[in-house]
């Protein structure tokens, strides 16, 4: 077969790359950035959640929370291993950042990055007890679902495969959150506390989808690393929340 085409054309037509040496430098940079954001968010998310395991109101809830912490760490490791094939020092990376560190609850950070790691901005806010953690997990869980749907089709095959494997487990985390939320809203006091947390987390989770006018999007789409815009994704998430929350007596 003498027929060839440039990698850029190949990617623009939906082609798939399969190992680090296929990846042109710019693609490699964007891909590593995407992977680092996922790894850092999973590690920061599970580190934050680890602290509320002790607030769990029952053994079942404690097991569910522990499982979420365990599996999110495992998901981070799978993607970090792929970063290792690009030369990242995985052992060092995993312990380098203070994953449990948080800013103040009222910090104004919007969608901006903060500090040296690349976690999504929403993971800079501290959780305040069990109810708050469950609500955050429900809202963020569905956002992760939408992100993983997108990532499961991206053009770096080994990464798309990892995302396809972990998507059902992340979806289960959101379901566990909803099971916990159903118990919380069974009392009016619980429902009111949950509503306060929804009001706090909803705009912050929405911001984690990124800016509407992200200048990077066109590049990412050309590379086959993104399909739906930030705006399309956040709209899908808001619709999903609007459909789900009323079932819990929440708005």
């Amino acid at each position: 077969m003498s027929e060839t085409m440039t990698i850029d054309d190949y990617l623009a037509q939906g082609g798939v790359l399969t190992n680090p040496s296929n990846a042109p430098p710019r693609y490699r940079g964007e891909l590593l950035r995407l992977m680092a954001t996922f790894v850092d968010s999973e590690l920061a998310g599970s580190a934050g959640f680890a602290e509320v395991i002790n607030d769990a109101p029952s053994l079942k809830a404690r097991i569910a929370a522990s499982r979420i912490v365990l599996e999110k760490t495992d998901h981070a490791e799978r993607v970090l291993d792929l970063m290792g094939t690009f030369g990242a020092d995985t052992a060092r990376y995993a312990v380098h950042h203070p994953w449990a560190a948080r800013l103040a609850r009222d910090a104004e950070i919007g969608a901006a990055r903060h500090g040296a790691d690349r976690r999504l901005s929403v993971f800079h806010y501290p959780l305040q007890g069990w109810i708050d953690a469950v609500v955050m997990n429900v809202l963020m869980g569905r956002a992760v679902g939408i992100q993983l749907q997108e990532f499961s089709r991206l053009s770096y095959a080994p990464l798309a495969e990892v995302f396809r494997e972990i998507a059902p487990r992340e979806a289960r985390h959101a379901e566990l959150g909803e099971e916990g939320l159903a118990r919380i809203v069974a009392t009016e006091g619980g429902r009111e506390a949950a509503q306060r947390s929804v009001d706090f987390w909803r705009p912050r989770v929405a911001a984690s989808f990124g800016r509407e006018d992200s200048p990077r999007f066109d590049t990412l789409r050309r590379f086959g690393l993104r399909r739906r815009t930030n705006h399309e994704q956040v709209t899908a998430w808001m619709a999903e929340m609007a459909a789900r929350l009323p079932a819990f007596g929440l708005a």
């Binding site: 077969m1 003498s2 027929e3 060839t4 085409m5 990698i7 054309d9 190949y10 037509q13 939906g14 082609g15 798939v16 790359l17 399969t18 190992n19 680090p20 040496s21 296929n22 430098p25 490699r28 940079g29 964007e30 590593l32 950035r33 680092a36 970063m83 290792g84 094939t85 690009f86 030369g87 990242a88 020092d89 995985t90 052992a91 060092r92 990376y93 380098h96 040296a116 790691d117 690349r118 499961s152 089709r153 095959a157 080994p158 798309a160 495969e161 396809r164």
Partner: protein, 358 residues
């Protein structure tokens, strides 16, 4: 972190006019590191005219053969593949990273699956490894291989495939599609494009019975086959890709001016401050990042991703200038203030003063 290990070249066998098969032996103690899964590849490195090239080649051996072999087809203008085809000989040593890649599905000895493989040219190498392994380890599974080549003389592993067909009678079907040689059946002549796929799937391969499809070949072929398989109902998860070496830049390109400058011009005297201690050392302006040079000079410089992403290795340039190859971490204002990612940083002046402490 992945690192390079020496592999002794035990045998170099000429497979076709422009392809060789290398048999490689890990050193004592490294055998475990090079235990591979069918369909994986090795990444080699070698310096050409002072510039390091890294190239990945798929393993063509099955898991039960007790040998590590890769096939390397010469690419026009390709420095590594030309060298491997013309100069490499038994007794030489190659440097390679451990096997990598996810171009495989888990082996299930009890399964009765139908695998469909597409190979274009040297894209046969990982498919050969896969089909040998699954036919040996899944006695109830079968494999259909569609193998595209320019002409009969350029078919890699032609005899081995014939032998395998006889060994696994009824379980291995091979369709040779030849671009520039007319065969008895029109279907088997030409290129594998959308029309060819449609005809193959109508007349020769029952896609509905396929559990997993493996595709390895040049870009246009991968695109048309994948599109056709999706049209015939296969999901993303059922289609596995390996893009072969044509996607890699072939020629070793030395950076401009590297040969015309004298040895002393090519060096930079670097002063690095870290944790309050300052050290000065010399490093080449090219080929080694500032971070790697600091690490090589026993400084415990901070880093994590080494890819210009995480900003752990950030430092400030106080004197001199340096070029940053990639920056996905620093904001514009930080760059204006002189901050650099040392893992992506190469000095351009004869002296450079940087501090990790600011």
């Amino acid at each position: 972190m992945a690192r390079f290990y020496p592999l002794d070249v035990a045998d170099v066998r000429r497979e076709t006019r422009d392809a060789v098969v290398l048999t490689l032996k890990p050193r004592d103690g490294d055998a475990e590191v090079f235990a591979f899964t069918q369909g994986q590849y090795l990444t080699f490195r070698r310096a050409f005219d002072g510039v390091e090239l890294r190239r990945s080649y798929s393993i063509c051996a099955g898991r039960d053969e007790g040998a590590l072999r890769v096939g390397i087809k010469r690419v026009e203008g390709g420095a590594f593949s030309t060298w491997a085809n013309q100069e490499l000989k038994p007794g030489d040593v190659l440097e390679a990273m451990p096997p990598m890649g996810a171009f495989h599905t888990p082996i299930e000895p009890e399964a009765a699956k139908h695998y469909l493989g597409f190979a274009g040219g040297s894209g046969i190498t990982p498919l050969l490894s896969i089909l040998k392994t699954v036919l040996a380890r899944e006695p109830r599974s079968r494999f259909t291989l569609v193998y595209a080549n320019r002409q009969i003389a350029s078919i890699m592993f032609r005899e081995e495939l014939d032998d395998l067909k006889n060994t696994y009678l009824g379980r291995l079907a091979i369709v040779h599609v030849l671009e520039s040689e007319t065969q008895d059946i029109d279907l088997f002549t030409g290129r594998i494009d959308a029309a060819k796929c449609a005809a193959l799937f109508r007349l020769w391969v029952d896609v509905a019975s396929v559990d997993t499809a493996f595709i390895c070949g040049p870009e246009p072929m991968m695109l048309s086959i994948a599109a056709s398989l999706r049209e015939h109902g296969l999901s993303e998860a059922q289609i596995k890709f390996e893009l072969f070496a044509s996607g890699q830049p072939g020629r070793a390109t030395a950076r401009a001016a590297s040969s015309s400058v004298s040895a002393s011009d090519a060096q930079c005297a670097v002063t690095v401050t870290l944790d309050g201690a300052t050290r000065t050392f010399r490093m080449p302006k090219q080929g080694e990042s500032l971070l790697d040079a600091a690490l090589a000079n026993s400084m415990d410089a901070p880093y994590a991703c080494k890819a210009g992403v995480c900003s752990t290795c950030r430092a400030k340039v106080l004197e001199g200038e340096a070029e940053m190859i990639t920056n996905h971490a620093l904001e514009d204002y930080e760059v204006r203030q002189g901050y650099v990612l040392t893992c992506q940083c190469y000095p351009t002046t004869d002296t450079l003063v940087v501090s990790y402490d600011q």
